[in-house]
């Protein structure tokens, strides 16, 4: 197995984690069109995404859009995705993105899942090793909460406590000496925000209010993250995303649930007679992820060049043994991935070709990393 760059989503159940991943992959595909590089999904990932996309499509074909029609995730799922040369599937940069049932964030709930503690530990390990933490936010809950009791219900509905705990662990791991120089990006991704924007078929004028509310409600989490990261910077990106785009919230209810707390129900309508999603701003996430790789590249290359006068073989051997981000970067920078691709008795010409493709993939990653963000998206630090 080639080492992969890791990323993870963090959010409670029904917030939109799985839908967000689907939207990101769809938009990346479009961004890469015509570059000689494609985004390739392993078979199971491809199936998972396809099933999810079909469910989204079905939801749009219903006369009344059910805001929660999609089946929740039941087990942990690793999305194995690579940016890959069209000409040679061995020439690629792989990513491994973790999705899981949001309810696993709740420690009490975990007790009731067979093997839940062990599975969640594995998820946590992946999260801690991730260069990017992707935090989907239910914008409709933040924006529709008006009365004091409604606002009082927000932290529970969005499980701030549990989300903050995981973000804290992520940030404190990023702060460890061995991870200092690695990239670390936190993406705040409001979803279900079609109503508040006027740039994707709607007339909303609430972009500023949404930004303000996200900053307010997620301020404590950002403080925790910055507080943990004493030895380094963590990049924060604000990226409000439309995964459907063609629906619009009409009415929100705050019914009292059986445990006495306020719940939240959203009623949507489909704009016009649209039947396919119109994704907006999701590509920014892949852009940010590629920036992590490119940044890492620069650092790793510095190390390789600095070591040139010294001992190559030792450096390469060490990189190969290294786990985590630097091991992964080292694998692609040192040429080991090229050697692996070339190690089956290839001719000099074939090896040159592999090197060229490697350059091509690298150029594409750099181009993706340099793609301008959608105007909705803002770096917050």
């Amino acid at each position: 197995m080639n080492p992969a760059f890791k990323a993870a989503v963090l959010g409670p159940t029904r917030v939109g984690k799985t839908t967000l991943l689907t939207a990101i992959l769809d938009e990346t595909k479009q961004m890469l069109a015509g570059t000689g590089v494609i985004i390739s999904l392993d078979e199971r990932t491809q199936r998972r995404v396809r099933t999810h996309r079909q469910e989204m499509q079905q939801a749009l074909l219903q006369r009344e859009f059910n805001a929660y029609a999609l089946a929740g995730t039941q087990d942990e799922a690793y999305y194995h995705v690579s940016l890959q040369s069209v000409a040679d599937e061995d020439v690629r940069i792989p990513f491994s993105i973790l999705d899981y049932p949001g309810k696993w964030l709740d420690p009490d709930f975990l007790d009731t899942v067979a093997d839940g503690k062990r599975k969640w530990r594995e998820c946590e390990e992946h999260i801690k090793a991730s260069v990017m933490l992707l935090v989907p936010i239910d914008a409709s809950i933040l924006m529709e909460a008006e009365t004091p009791p409604q606002r009082g219900a927000v932290p529970g509905l969005l499980q701030f406590g549990d989300v903050e705990e995981v973000a804290r662990k992520w940030a404190s791991t990023r702060n460890l000496a061995e991870h200092h120089h690695e990239p670390a990006v936190l993406v705040l991704a409001p979803l279900k925000c079609e109503k508040y924007f006027d740039d994707n078929g709607g007339w909303g004028r609430d972009a500023d209010e949404l930004r303000k509310r996200v900053a307010e409600w997620y301020g404590p989490m950002l403080d925790i993250v910055r507080g943990e990261a004493t030895q380094r910077d963590i990049k924060i990106i604000y990226a409000p995303i439309d995964t459907y785009g063609v629906v619009e919230l009409m009415e929100a209810d705050w019914p009292r649930e059986s445990d006495g707390r306020l719940g939240f129900r959203a009623h949507y309508r489909i704009r016009g007679d649209k039947t396919t999603p119109s994704v907006k701003a999701a590509g920014a996430v892949m852009t940010a992820l590629c920036q992590c790789v490119v940044d890492g590249w620069a650092v790793a290359e510095g190390r390789v060049l600095a070591a040139r006068q010294h001992d190559y073989a030792r450096l390469v051997a060490r990189d190969r043994e290294r786990k985590g981000f630097w091991g992964t970067i080292g694998y692609y920078v040192s040429g080991e991935s090229a050697r692996n691709a070339a190690d089956q008795g290839k001719t000099a010409m074939e090896i040159t070709q592999i090197e060229q493709r490697q350059q091509q993939v690298r150029k594409s990653v750099e181009a993706l990393a340099a793609t301008a963000y959608d105007p909705r998206v803002e770096p917050w630090s």
Binding site: A71, E301, V333, D343
Partner: protein, 267 residues
């Protein structure tokens, strides 16, 4: 008297304690766990396996009419731990694999047997539930189609598509042979992959004979053998590293130099 049928579903309220769980009684062992990464547990899938406690069947993705408080449709999962004594029931359950109507009917019957208020009350602990597995087992007979005829089950591991009649009959024959202890391992449907390569990966991971019914195959549906150890999944398998490291060390260093040079000149 049929074996108990463990029933998993969720209640309507939003709170986590109403989430998916076995109602009334929990199967003593999660013998199906090893296969869950090779199926889509939220979709229609069927798994049959020999395990320490017998020959079990796991049926997931059975639709309920119920919706949870947020509006998400609710599903049922059924587990029968041991059907060695009732191979016909096992065949009838396995045949659900190619019957969307069969799934619907099973879901309707379950909804009728256990109404929404009752499930919520059971989960809250307000109503007794010990009889749920027995009642679920008892209603199966009326919810399922009569048994279909069996076909030839090739020995060893194979994969076939649901549209192929021979594959369907072979699948039924395989589950029957599993029940009779004439075959080992697993028989299951999958929507998680659709290629021979995906089937090879599943077989390699499970380390046991498998009969896999692809519900959505990419390409041919007819039965194909899964030869142990080699297959299309493995054509890219690397040769042993050791002779390579020795043989290529010089070439490798030269290559690194070249790549570093390229990278430097492009930086």
């Amino acid at each position: 008297m049929t074996a108990p049928a463990y029933l998993m579903t969720r209640g309507r309220p939003r709170e986590n304690r109403y989430d998916y769980q076995f109602i009334g009684a929990v199967p003593p062992a999660r013998w199906w766990d090893a296969v869950t990464k090779h199926v889509q547990t939220t979709q229609r899938e069927i798994v049959v396996a020999r395990h320490e406690g017998g020959v079990g069947v796991y049926v997931t993705g059975v639709p309920s009419e119920r919706r949870d408080a947020g509006g998400t449709p609710i599903r049922y999962t059924l587990v029968l731990d041991d059907l060695r004594d009732d191979p016909v029931l096992l065949q009838r359950i396995a045949a659900l694999a190619w019957s969307a109507d069969g799934y619907e009917r099973l879901g309707e019957q379950l909804d009728k047997e256990f109404d929404a208020d009752r499930i919520d009350a059971i989960i809250r602990g307000d109503e007794p539930a010990e009889d749920v597995p027995a009642r679920t087992a008892a209603m199966l007979d009326s919810a399922l189609e009569p048994a279909a005829s069996l076909g030839d089950d090739p020995a060893g591991s194979w994969v076939g598509g649901v549209k192929d009649r021979d594959a369907r009959r072979a699948f039924l024959a395989r589950v029957t042979r599993l029940a009779a202890a004439e075959a080992e391992g697993w028989a299951f449907t999958s929507q998680a992959f659709g290629t021979l390569r995906g089937a090879h990966e599943a077989a390699a991971d499970l380390r046991a004979p498998v009969a896999i019914m692809l519900l959505d195959p990419d390409g041919t549906s007819s039965i194909q053998e899964i030869a142990p150890g080699k297959g299309p999944a493995l054509v890219k398998e690397r040769r042993s590293r050791i002779p390579l490291i020795v043989g290529l060390s010089l070439a490798a260093v030269a290559l690194i130099l070249a790549i570093v040079w390229i990278m430097r000149s492009s930086a």
